[in-house]
Amino acid sequence: MASAAAPGSAAHGAAPGLQHQFESAGQQREASALGMWVFLVTEILFFGGLFLAYTIYRWQNARAFAHASLHMDIALGTANTAVLICSSLTMAMAVHSAATGRRKLLIGFLVATMLLGGAFLGIKAIEYTDHIHHHLFPGPGFHYPVPADARAAEMFFSLYFGMTGLHALHMVVGLGILTTLLVLARRGRFTPEYHTPVEISGLYWHFVDIVWIFLFPLLYLIGRHLK
């Protein structure tokens, strides 16, 4: 039977994109989706280490952390949250367009998602520049107005840059994935029968979005009541 199967796609001449190890397109779709879900579980644990460190140090330095969070620009943070939620919407619409076979719409929504993702990174870059300008990047150049809190505040900013930096890195990877999808979509590679790559990339994008939904209150909002 499959002894002559060439590695790669469309070995059986059956469904497009079917790889030789699978019996059917359904099996392949199920495997790809499960693979992405398992990958996202590993991502949760990966971020989990940082969230644990945040939890412990915030518990040890509750007041100083709350004060340090007042140095965040709430307007930019909120704007970024809105941008990211919108990008999740456009991503969901892209998946829907792929599933219903509307190529033009798919391309449009992919582009929109990429623009929003790019906007998020742009705003983040403005914030980073701002912090560095105010000597809030941890390390030898760190300078904090309240000397008694300086150590805890430095810890807060270490975690801030670590967590948002890792998140931003995931956004960059996401933009890379979207670029690949865009190229494939323009070549007409996705059909209602075969659009698993769009679907599982969507899962990834939503995951990165959700991480931000946790980062935003933990880093921006915990000190609001002190204002």
Binding site: G49, M155, S158
Partner: protein
């Protein structure tokens, strides 16, 4: 074992995964899980002997009480490099990436793993990580111990912490990819009729192992990332001088590294289940208990990490809970040991080499497991913490357990992997040498530890010398026991007799295919109609 000279070789060149294509590219770019398994076999064997070399140097230094062969600093590097290579580059990938890779698709009746390209990628990721660590070895090594405890690793050590840590970080992703691939494959690629409770126990134990790889390894990765950030950018996370908490590092580290022990031993348990049933010609006693014991070990294994930290300053109440939970892990482990024993009861046992390793495993794992209970006991642990007692304990699990299982599995499936029979007499002899050498190496260490000899020192009081000489002598015998199989297995690839499809009369699907199997594993897609271990006493003839 028959003495027939020039026996006609059965069915010579037939197309199989080994001769379907030739050349270095056909191996380095292969997506065939069986070839990738062989790539892993070669790489982990290299690291096994490299780690063994470090062990040899450690044992040579400890031959005499004075620190004479190497300096203290060099000795620190030796035990660190021994631990790092053996754990991250041999034990963790050994059975899963070699035997699991080769066998899981065959055992469930699939043509390949769900993601063949990811599988190849995992090997390359492993190699890149290994190169970083090898670079560190060549440029002077690392001296932190394989545990990389902070703040020494982030603030004080002058050795190549970063290169080694980056190597481990990268290799971790190879482990994650393997685990992910196994989970998805076992869920979605089973042949018609291959229900969950018809899966061989080898597959169950690899499913449990994969869960640990997927859930634990990312935490190690992020921990190493934080060490990296602290050491390079001087951001305070773990260093108390920078406001950090070193105990947090230990929690994060052991959250992975304790379950990692089960990454090493669970696959070996899966191998033993296959060996015991085959060579006792009996169905496994309590299939579901053995299957769920694997899952139970994986789950409980995540809840006991604090028993590495009884003397670290963690809260006494946390210590109490971790102690109780650690005792609980003994339950599923004991279920397995009792069920294997019950499987052998009134079985028709044949003493082939793989079965000798299975006997070795059961005995040594039992000793290793029971001494683990000493260490889980809060008060006793304070006495034996950081002594040779713990060294002996975990070597009984890892060398006596994991490596015995690995060697037993390699011998059992060698006819399938290579298409050749290994020389039985030599193999039995080697198994005996390994068993004797192992005990002589590590049993004295239990006594040394209980008498109070601490680990990680290159010199010791003269009254400990006799036991240390025994241990070093044993290590030499053990080393010999590992070199012999290396020689005859390589020899057998060229000169061994051709293997029939099913030399042991086993029931697994992998034996229904030819030896070695074709690239697509099966001529006909298999359909499963019965349970995995339907052995009967009657059919006892095996090959060779």
């Amino acid at each position: 074992m028959s003495a027939v000279v020039r026996e006609p070789e059965p069915q010579e060149p037939r197309r199989n995964y080994l001769n379907s294509s030739y050349g270095i590219r056909s191996w380095l770019l292969t997506k065939d899980h069986k070839r990738i398994a062989l790539l892993y076999l070669v790489s982990v064997t290299f690291f096994f002997f490299l780690g063994g070399l470090f062990a040899l140097l450690i044992r040579l230094e400890l031959l005499t009480p004075a620190g004479d062969l190497v300096q203290a600093e060099t000795y620190n590097k030796l035990f660190t490099m021994h631990g790092v290579t053996m754990i991250f580059f041999f034990l963790i990938p050994s059975i899963p990436a070699v035997l699991g890779n080769f066998l899981i698709p065959m055992m469930i009746g699939a043509r390949d793993l769900a993601f063949p390209r990811l599988n190849l990628l995992s090997w390359y990721v492993y190699v890149v990580g290994a190169l970083f660590t090898l670079w560190a070895v060549v440029h002077g090594g690392v001296d932190t111990g394989w545990t990389f405890y902070t703040p020494y690793s982030t603030a004080s050590s002058n050795a190549h912490v970063i290169a080694t840590a980056v190597g481990i970080f990268i290799t971790g992703f190879s482990s994650i990819l393997t685990g992910l691939n196994f989970i998805v494959t076992i869920h979605t690629m089973r042949a018609p009729g291959m229900t969950w409770f018809r899966l061989p126990l080898f597959v169950w134990s690899h499913y449990a192992t994969s869960l640990i790889m997927v859930l634990g390894t990312p935490v190690l990765a992020v921990t190493i990332l934080m060490v990296f950030i602290e050491r390079v950018l001087h951001l305070g996370i773990f260093d108390p001088a920078l406001g950090g908490d070193p105990i947090l590092f230990q929690h994060l580290f052991w959250f992975y590294s304790h379950p990692a022990v089960y990454i090493m031993v669970l696959p070996a348990m899966g191998v033993i289940s296959e060996l015991v049933t085959t060579f006792s010609r009996k169905n496994i006693f309590g299939y579901k208990f053995v299957a769920f014991a694997s899952i139970g070990i994986a789950v409980l294994g995540f809840l006991v990490w604090g028993h590495h930290m009884f003397v670290s300053g963690q809260s006494v109440y946390a210590g109490l809970i971790f102690s109780v939970l650690s005792f609980l892990v003994a339950v599923p482990s004991a279920v397995k040991v009792f069920n294997w024993t019950a499987t052998m009861y009134k079985g028709s046992i044949s003493y082939r080499t793989p079965m000798l390793y299975a006997f070795g495993f059961i005995g040594l794992f039992t000793i290793g497991g029971l001494t683990g209970l000493f260490l889980a006991t809060l008060g006793v642990d304070v006495h034996v913490h950081d002594t040779y007692f713990i060294i002996a304990h975990f070597h009984y699990i890892m060398v006596g357990g994991a490596i015995m299982g690995y060697l037993g599995g390699i011998h059992y499936w060698w006819p399938k992997i290579s298409g050749k029979m290994y020389p039985e007499a030599w193999a039995r002899f080697a198994a005996l040498v390994v068993f004797v050498g192992f005990h002589l190496t590590f049993f004295p260490q239990f006594i040394l530890g209980y008498l109070g000899m601490p680990r990680r020192y290159h010199a010791y009081p003269p009254e400990f010398q006799v036991l240390n000489v025994m241990s070093t002598a044993g290590a030499s015998i053990l080393g010999l026991g590992y070199i012999i199989p290396m020689i005859y297995l390589v020899w057998s690839m060229r000169y061994g007799r051709n293997a029939p499809p099913n030399p042991w009369g086993s029931t697994g699907l992998e034996w229904k295919s030819s030896s070695p199997p074709p690239t697509d594993n099966f001529e006909e897609p298999p359909v499963v109609t019965e349970d995995p271990y339907t052995y009967s006493h009657e059919e006892v003839e095996t090959f060779g």
